[in-house]
Amino acid sequence: MSMAGKAAKFGIKAALLKLFGPILAFFGVALLLLAFMLFLLINAGLSGGAEQAESESQRVETAGNSCSITSEEGEGGDAEGKSTSVPAEYAEDVKKASEEAGIPEQIIAAQIQQESQWDPTAGSHAGAQGIAQFMPATWATYGEGGDIHDGHDGIAALGRYMKDLKGQVSEQAGDDSDELIRLTLAAYNAGPGAVHQHDGVPPYDETRHYVETITGNGQTKFSEDCSPKGSATAWDGDLGDGEWTNPCPGCQFTSGYGPRNVPGLPAWAQNHVGVDLATPGAGNSNGTDIIAPTDMTVVGFLADDGCVMTRQKEGPGFFFAFCHMNSNEVEDGQELKRGDIIGVEGNTAGGGGGGVATHLHLEIYDPESPDPPMPYNDHNIDPEPILKEKGAWPE
């Protein structure tokens, strides 16, 4: 190539460089900036994920003992007032009392709600005083010189008292941690002597109510994000992810679950092992559509009582019975999605219509139930706290 040729080629290169250089430089800088931003984003994402994972880890870890509770300044209380919050000024006290007693935080919170509705000035006809309603003699032992009308002192004393009571009934509870909570609450209400005398929760209607209310509220009012604790249900495992759908839209709760194995009740007294939900005013006519609360498979029928039996597809694999329906729209083995119609609320019982007032009798069975489940097969668990926790309880 001649010099002139080289010069010409150089000139072209120079011209091209002059023309495209700034453009290339611009794109180069832009590329670097883009890479830098991508790096920041990935880094932030990883960091956020790590924080989230850590937060989740903490939640799961605490769920094993105490679950998270919500204070009025924290998250969790919903606008519809479904959950009850711990007053912010007492959140730390409840946490400390929980640690002192070895009792879940939501149980302590529900207990204080029941005892005084968080009113440190509360008093009673019987002489109990303060936020945890201590009798003066008991306060003398557990108050440690504090002020019985000081909410912080009262909650601290409650932690000490519950710890003591727990120790007194631990033998009756054996290795069952849920039973230990039940018995400790029963001892708080009826006295540890009564728990010893009856070798369990005393057969007093009021005491049984106290235990069930505290354990139930502990789950549904103070820890809606947590697994069931205490004895709100016989099921103490994971309920699985996600929400369910109300199986009886527009219905009202009319009757609760409860084996009537109360000492003293006559042998013929019935046993109600499901919950009843009914359309108001339906009388003996057809009620509303009965809806699959979650994804499930039809596993059987009990025609005389208008029952359709199903099994939950996802964990934990509960069985269900939807009873007294006047008609159903499903077949054996059919797979139902959440929200699918199972049948029509009715009054079919004992082989015909009109045996009962129109309602849905809903049973839930543990995953170990025979397949298909039959009503009253000793594998029943209380549907109420499960439906509440899954957001499927009638308003």
């Binding site: 509705q117 009113d119 006559p266």
Partner: protein, 192 residues
């Protein structure tokens, strides 16, 4: 007689009983001084009277028992069971003997809030829907009742109460129905 009693308001009945028994204005006029606690009537006499139950009618016996068992006076009752003890005349001897007071009140928070107004509960009883009622035999029945109550303060204020559902088991002996068992299936307290 197997009548069905639907949603009767207890205070009305209580007032009617007061009118019939003559426990009304004349006594109020006779004494202007505040009565001592021992002279005070539970809920100023507004609780349903166990004698108002028609003993040949299990619905009436169950209804009355359900009402009496949820009529409390925050100035006089230490526990919920105090009211159950007042319903003992409607119970069999065995079941009455089972009514044991715990050391503490299961709904103490509600009682304490009511006590600030010297309030008594005003229960409204209705039959529970669904299939809870059972005619087990000619002399054995189970009845479900739903009770809603609020507290009426003696200062004129009202205090939120709650609701409960109970099963009442009854047997007939010597021509009279009596409560041989009851079981609270659910209690809900109104949020304050």
């Amino acid at each position: 007689m197997m009548t069905t009693t639907k949603k009767m308001i207890v205070p009305v009945i209580g007032l009617a009983v007061l009118a019939i028994t003559g426990c009304g204005s004349s006594e109020e006029e006779a004494s202007e001084a505040s009565p001592s606690p021992s002279e005070m009537q539970v809920a100023d006499g507004h609780c349903m009277d166990v004698d108002a139950a028609h003993r040949d009618d299990p619905d009436s016996v169950g209804y009355t028992a359900a009402s009496v068992m949820h009529c409390w006076d925050s100035t006089m009752d230490a526990t919920m069971t105090d009211a159950a003890l007042r319903a003992a005349p409607l119970m069999s001897e065995e079941w009455a003997a089972q009514q044991t007071q715990p050391e503490r009140n299961a709904i103490q928070g509600q009682f304490s809030a009511a006590a600030k107004h010297e309030a008594y509960s005003v229960p409204e009883v209705s039959r529970t829907g669904g299939d809870v009622d059972q005619n087990v035999d000619y002399d054995k029945v189970a009845r479900g009742f739903t009770i809603e109550w609020e507290w009426q303060g003696r200062d004129g204020e009202t205090v939120p109460g709650g609701s409960a559902q109970i099963m009442v088991y009854m047997e007939m002996h010597s021509g009279k129905w009596e409560v041989v068992g009851h079981h609270t299936t659910t209690v809900q307290e109104e949020d304050r």
